[in-house]
Amino acid sequence: MKTILCAGNRYCAEDSFGPMVYDVLCKNNLPKNIELIDAGLAGLDLLCHFEKSDRVIVIDSVSGFSAPEELVTIRFNELQNNETIDYGHSGGLQYLLHCLPALEIIPKVDVILIGFEGIADKETIAAAASLALESVNA
């Protein structure tokens, strides 16, 4: 099983990148072995999607990984340089990503983040959707 996990809040423009890509991907006829998830603002409760997949493509708004308004692909090991993060009761997606090695999800599962900083236009959303499909099938 492969999973495309779109995270964020569609009601907050700067955090709506994941849900916008989800809307585009919904219109695709995805193969049965690819699960498309609207992850919303969930955190630790997304663990089940990592447990049942061999590859997870996370699509989310990012900060600091690239120049603003530039689509970026981030490998899991690039996420691990972070200092202690802020988190709330649900942990948040970032907390979960940090826990994956201790949960023994990494290195079993290939995790790739497709990110964007800023408010994406239609072309960028479409490009991100295509990149997600390429990455999940690579």
Partner: protein, 502 residues
Amino acid sequence: MAETIQIPLNRVEGDLEVKVTIDNGIVTDAWMIGTMYRGIEKMMAGRAALDGLVITPRVCGICSTSHLLAAARALENIFESPVAYNGSLVRQLVLGAEKLQNDVRHVNLMFSADFTNKRYEKKSLYEEAVKRYQPYAGTSVIEVIQASKKIPEIIAILGGQWPHSSFIVPGGITSGPSGADLRQCKMILSGFRRWYEKQILGSSIKKWLQIQTPDQLDSWLEEESHAESDLGFLIRCGREFELDTIGTGHESYLAVPEHSLPGIVTGGAVSGGVLTDNKVHPFSQQDVSEQIRYSYYLDAGKSGHPMETSTRPAVPDNSKKYSWCKAPRYDGQAVETGPLAELLVNENPLFKELVKQNGNSALVREIARLTRPARLLPLMEAWFNDIDLNAPFYRNPGEFIDGEGFGLVQAPRGFLGHWLQISDGRIEHYQIISPTTWNASPRDNNDIRGPIEEALIGTPVQDSKNPVEVGHVVRSFDLCMVCSVHAVSKTGSTCSRVQFGA
């Protein structure tokens, strides 16, 4: 020399800043600053009568079931509609499930992370604390993540969705679980119970519940499996790091009746009441009021009972207002709510004595929270067994009528209330007071500090640049300020944050 510092606090749900004045290493004054406006009440006005069932669970992604239940109860209070007994059982089960997940996650992931602070590196239990509570990798952290992940499945199976479900409606629930559904839920619950007894208690629930006095607790701790359990370590570590001497505040407590159903042993149920001046009084929602002298709301929106108050945001120049939280009061008094309050209004002998010895400290609050599943799990098993698949889960509430009503719930963090007025089939008025609004309230109209503000007074702070002691006290109330947005950031900070509730 006194200095005043402002601390943005993470590991609480939502945005919060704590301002404290520290004089000679002691906190001498404190202000709890809710930094974002919720506005749900304003959104509700003019909508259809039942819309609260869909909108208010969105106040929070962690305790959405509690808000749904409060919204349904408020409508039932107006319609005077009875609830199908099976529906009541399922409601209690999903509320219980929400508490199970919250309690173990809060203690091991949010609260105990402060035990890994360098402030304690010379303490004998520091190394073990880091091994257990190091964020993302600590043994107790990973244990809790693994064990708590299946609990929301109980809500999803019984209600069709989690979080933000809307299956609780006036008269019961809209779903009709099958025998297979119930068996699956019971398996999840029994798996969690086995893990809880082994990892958290290091003993059976029955054995833990037999402890009645602090001396018996100390004897219990002498057994290796108990001392090495997560609860045992929390107590040992909390004592060595002196968390049993900080966080004492107003000794007034509030909890509303919950988890008590006819025909079932109610040993773990919350009897509800108000504990002030060492006496438990019956609770009356008429004695609840909201005050706004120090809150960012128009003074013209008068203080008073939530059915009379309004939510009219305003940030006037040169005012003393400092928080988006209102100041709820019970019979004019600031009261603490949460798991410790549940035990004290129930007159639990162990916790009554623990508070008598050391006050309502940060440590005793966390012990109350981490042991709540021990009180809930036997009840939840009984509720599952009492469901009659041949009986209805829903009773038609009849005609939806206009009127005023309230829905009260003892939620994971304490007393939650929804107050509602329906006119011409539309919502005329909606007010929500959440548990954190009680605990994190600013000063009231009489300049009396809120419960956390008061609990911070007297807290020793060794290093004002690393005020971990303040974090212990504030987090011991398990705050849930709002639901917020988190996006992945290279520096680890939160970005793109949007607030929906307080």
